[in-house]
Amino acid sequence: MGLRLRLILVLMIPPILVFGVYGVLRVRNEHADLLLTDRQSVVLISKAVQIAVERALRDPQTPDIEQLLAEIVDDQQMIDGLRIFDLDLRATVVSKSRVGTDLVATDLLRHVIATGHADGVARGDGAERAFYYLMPLRAANGTIVGAIEIAHLLAAVDARLRSATWDIVLRLSLLVASITLLTGVVLQRQVLRPLFALTEGIRNLGRGDPAQPLPVERADELGRVAEAFNTMADQLHHARRELVLETERAVDLEQQLRHSATLAVAGRLASGLAHEVGTPLNIISGRAELLLQSIAPDDPRRDELQVIVGQIDRISAMLRSLLDTVRPVKPDIQPVVLRRVVDPLLVLLAHTARRHGVALEVSIPDDLPPVRADYNQLQQVLINVLMNAFEAARPAGRVVVSAAREARAGEHGVRIAVRDSGPGIPASFHARIFEPFFSTKPPGEGTGLGLPISRDILKGLGGDIRVDSAPGTGTTFILWLPEHA
């Protein structure tokens, strides 16, 4: 059931009840009044008839009683039939009648004759229903000699009763209908329309469309709801935009980091390969050079040897240009404040930590001295170590990053600890995790180069990295970097 219908019902039930009760009472009153008036008229006319008939009966020159009765019935609209009974309750004179004459209210008749008091009763159905009024007939000395029955058809008064009832019902119905209509219109304009606008606004908001502000043109509760909604939509819109920006920033940063990590991996692979093939290439081309020296200038095999040397040169040039592309740029050593590296990372890291279901805690004091480092390289190292920590701690683990001053061999520096609540690393793996291509992750998930690259970077910066771990106790990677002088 809609709110409109329910509100209308709730609002209309009390007036309908009131009008209903009023209507019933009104109809009853009307009926009683009509009946009373009708009876009074019948009684009044009956008195006159009683007197006329008594006089006629007493008169010795008895005129024709039947004639008299017929005249009365003809003249008086309210009288539809007359009968005269003797003391034995027999009908002695019966006028022509518009009502049935076969029925006699014997008890009432006996009672009227016995007591001398007039009395009436309504009997019959439909058009035949009539009011029968019985009055005693007395002789001149006052003794009761019989009774006269005056019949009065009730069809006319019944019709008036019905029409009065209909009239009341119709008026009240019209009244209720107009009140209902008015209530409906007021509800629609004052409550439902603002509610509909609010619903529409909420729906738009849910779909992510920019919410149209609702008109706040009223100072009532709905106006305040609209105002509150507008404020909320505004805040939501702001929050959503912030979130989108933040996500974009995180994605940008992640892509950047992934790119630099890929470059580092490619660089490491390429330089590893180059170092391995450098000497064999050198031996091949050197041997060819040696042969070139030893054969005559016009020897036809010279060309073959030139080809060998030339092709080695080609391979070397290719490898060199590849290395130039992927070789890490010279670190830009400068004073780096640790928080300035970590704080921008937190956006991305918090996001990644949430994705792994890991609680990330970072507590880096503000008063740490700047370290001697390359901003980007240090960022890359921290990412490598933290990503490992997230992987280890998931799901529902903790990763804590802390930092403090620490001197090593008399040199001032900063110690960064990344502790995870993961399963820990057995001692036999402690050295191997820093070797290239050693990985405990499933194939395709890790390169096995994150930690070796991190160690290379830290070494290049004059720092180091080590691991402190045992199965069941979690793992802590401890990074150290010299303080910038």
Partner: protein
């Protein structure tokens, strides 16, 4: 090649690859150089202490003491001894590092062998 005033000069080739050592020997000997070989840093230091060496060709990649470590040791033990530092595709950082530790020349493998012989000639001539 004969150098004026001396019948021969001695070149110490330090490289863990025997074929590489042999290649340099095959080039340098006909040019009038005595060639001594060391397969690692430790052997090289022993030879430097015991033999009259004029120039060292030192490879970076070696097990145990690597080329850069040997370079530092030589700098301390025999300052002024010319060293041609060699590495496979080293890059500017290694070049700079080797010069910082006292290398006279820096060459990247694969080099033309003719070129290293010329470099050795130059270095020896400069030193005497």
């Amino acid at each position: 090649m004969q150098i004026e005033g001396r019948t021969s000069r001695t070149v110490l080739v330090v490289d863990d690859d025997a074929d590489m050592r042999k290649l340099l020997r095959d080039f340098l000997q006909p040019g009038g150089y005595d060639v001594l070989e060391a397969a690692n840093g430790h052997d090289a230091m022993v030879l430097v202490d015991s033999e009259p060496i004029d120039v060292v060709v030192l490879d970076k990649e070696m097990p145990g003491l690597n080329g850069l470590d040997v370079l530092s040791l030589l700098q301390r033990r025999r300052p002024g001894l010319p060293v041609i530092f060699v590495t496979a595709f080293g890059g500017p950082q290694i070049a700079e590092e080797s010069r910082r530790r006292g290398a006279t020349e820096y060459l990247e493998k694969p080099f033309r062998v003719r070129r290293i012989v010329d470099t050795i000639d130059e270095v020896v001539q400069r030193a005497h």
